[in-house]
């Protein structure tokens, strides 16, 4: 796998919680316009790894690099500032708040002097509508609370929030886990559109069919170690499932 100037690179990333080692020496290069599947059984370390990349956890060892330069991701805000956004399994949305407020949470648009912090509601509505339009939700009432939306629509709101933050890497944690067939298809379409727009996606999923449908390569974790990585082209879902179970990637 030849990657030129990876957007993000992990070198020997490890994480310990007291005596428990959740991750051991993970190496991974994430390039532009990729959709990478991150797979593994329960307890493989997928969640820990994405928490490190999203700034929710700090690694115990190893180095993170962006465009070849060492970086630290100290917090979720810091990750967003570095162009790394995460959509979580529970979507991390405030269900009772309106769509527009969820999209701009933490990245509000301001008018006038920054010190006053006056919200630019009109621009936020316009940008939210433009973002959602990319996912076929252009006409939606932006004042509707997120709790009124379907699972697929919520996923679109979560992704719109990531895009609004000008993310170059979007980490998606089990985006189709709670969705029906049609809504899952919508989400996979969203991922394809993200890639077409030049965004890199790191997809964590237990659904082999989904992984096969949208990823360009798959990284397999087993008990906190990286078992290996493999190109998706020419791979079958059944074979991928076997690799995840055995931890032997070939």
């Amino acid at each position: 796998m030849a990657l030129v100037a990876p957007l993000l690179e992990l070198r020997g990333i490890g994480k310990s919680y007291g005596p428990v080692r959740a991750l051991h020496g993970i190496d991974l290069a994430i390039g532009a316009r990729e959709v990478i599947g991150l797979c593994g059984d329960n307890g493989a370390g997928k969640s820990t790894l994405i928490r490190i990349l999203s700034g929710a956890e700090r690694p115990s060892e190893g180095q993170l690099l962006a465009a070849g330069r060492p970086i630290e991701i100290r917090s979720p805000a810091n990750a967003l500032a570095r162009g790394i956004a995460t959509t979580y399994q529970d979507l991390a949305l405030a269900a009772r708040l309106p769509i527009v407020q969820n999209i701009f949470m933490g990245a509000e648009l301001i008018r006038g002097p920054s010190l006053l912090g006056l919200l630019d509601h009109r621009r936020m509505r316009a940008e939210a509508a433009t973002l959602l339009d990319r996912f076929g939700l252009g006409g939606i009432d932006l004042h509707r609370p997120v709790s009124d939306l379907s699972g697929g629509q919520r996923q679109a709101v979560a992704i719109a929030r990531a895009l609004r933050a000008k993310a170059r890497v979007v980490i998606m944690d089990e985006p189709t886990a709670a969705l029906g067939v049609a809504e899952s298809r919508q989400v996979l379409d969203l991922i394809r559109r993200l890639r077409a727009d030049g965004v890199t996606v790191l997809l964590v999923s237990h659904d082999m069919e989904d992984v096969m449908a949208v990823t360009t390569r798959v990284v397999i974790l087993k008990k906190g170690h990286k078992a290996g990585e493999i190109e998706t082209a020419g791979l079958s879902a059944a074979r991928l499932g076997e690799m995840i179970m055995s931890g032997v990637v070939a």
């Binding site: 999203s54 929710a56 917090s75 979720p76 805000a77 810091n78 967003l80 995460t86 979580y88 991390a92 949305l93 405030a94 269900a95 009772r96 708040l97 407020q101 969820n102 949470m105 933490g106 990245a107 509000e108 301001i110 006053l116 912090g117 006056l118 919200l119 929030r161």
Partner: protein, 313 residues
């Protein structure tokens, strides 16, 4: 139709109550009586707005009434001893803000649930107020420059009512039109989502509690100026009334959410209820019974927000 009833049902019920009192209670509609109701509920509304701001950040402040009494005692004592009224007012506000900050730090740094932290702060404030006064009220003929803060009139409307309107307008503007208010709401609605979105959630929770303390300090200064007296128990009765105003407010405009217009209508409704019952000759304790029912009924409608505030750290 259903969403409209959910949003405005309680406000319409308040209007209906107004009509009932207007028809049945003599002098209820007299301008002086209506202005009197607004004046009477002003400190309650200001305290309620403070409580609502803490609740919007998903924190409970049960110390505001005792903090208000302590701040009043601090203000009254300083004025009584001949210090500048401005220094006295600043001291009252400072006590409120200081206790708000203390509550905020105890909740966010020591991880004590706000339900417990603010109850403890209430006990501390109560003890300090008795320590300062020895249980004796501070009363005097104080400079007009000070008493006018609470007793003056502008355009025929009592100063207290103007203060209430000013505080409500400022709180509403801050919540709806500024980044700080926007973030406070997000934090209160889903603290984990707010944290993952990069918001400084601990600082925002401290802000909510500091604003509640500041409202208690301001109410204390206005009450002291209005009554030309201060005592260690002067705001004790406002605890339940102000909370009831907020709870009632959570059943309207933004159902389930503490909100400023709802708190204002809630405070005015409770004031109107008390006034109307007095005019109809009802015994004083009927008001307390009504207050209890208002709180139970309102909380039954808005239980989730309260549960979050009471039991989350």
């Amino acid at each position: 139709m259903k969403p409209l009833i959910a949003r405005y049902g309680t406000a319409l019920a308040a209007v209906a109550l107004f009509v009932v009192f207007a028809v049945t209670a003599r002098n209820f509609l007299a301008v002086g009586n209506l202005i009197g109701i607004a004046k009477h509920v002003s400190p309650i509304a200001i305290l309620g707005i403070g409580f609502a701001l803490a609740l919007i950040a998903a924190e409970l402040d049960l110390s505001f009434a005792n903090v208000c009494s302590l701040a009043a005692v601090a203000t009254g004592t300083l004025v009584h001893r001949g210090h500048s009224p401005w220094l006295a007012a600043a001291a009252g506000l400072g006590v409120g803000i200081g206790f708000g900050l203390l509550n905020g730090l105890v909740v966010t740094r020591l991880k004590v649930p706000s339900l417990i932290a603010t109850l403890a702060a209430a006990a501390i404030a109560n003890g300090l107020a008795f320590m300062v006064t020895d249980g004796v009220s501070v009363v005097g003929r104080w400079p007009v420059a000070f008493t006018d803060l609470g007793r003056g009139e502008v355009l025929g409307i009592p100063a207290l009512v103007w203060w209430m309107a000013l505080v409500a307008a400022a709180a509403l503007f801050w919540l709806k039109q500024t980044r700080g208010g926007f973030r406070l709401v997000c934090t209160g609605e889903n603290v984990e989502a707010a944290r993952l979105a990069g918001l400084p959630v601990q600082r925002l929770k401290v802000t909510g509690l500091v604003l509640s303390g500041a409202a208690a300090g301001l109410a204390a200064v206005l009450l002291t100026a209005s009554l030309s007296s201060a005592s260690a128990t002067m705001a004790g009765d406002f605890l339940l009334t102000a909370i009831a105003a907020v709870m009632l407010g959570m059943t309207m405009f933004e159902p389930g959410h503490a909100n400023i217009p709802g708190t204002m209508v809630g405070a005015l409704t409770i004031g109107m209820l008390g006034n109307g019952l007095v005019l109809l000759g009802a015994p004083y304790y009927v008001q307390d019974v009504c207050l209890g029912f208002i709180i139970i009924g309102s909380v039954a409608v808005s239980a989730s927000a309260l549960t979050r505030a009471a039991f989350d750290v």
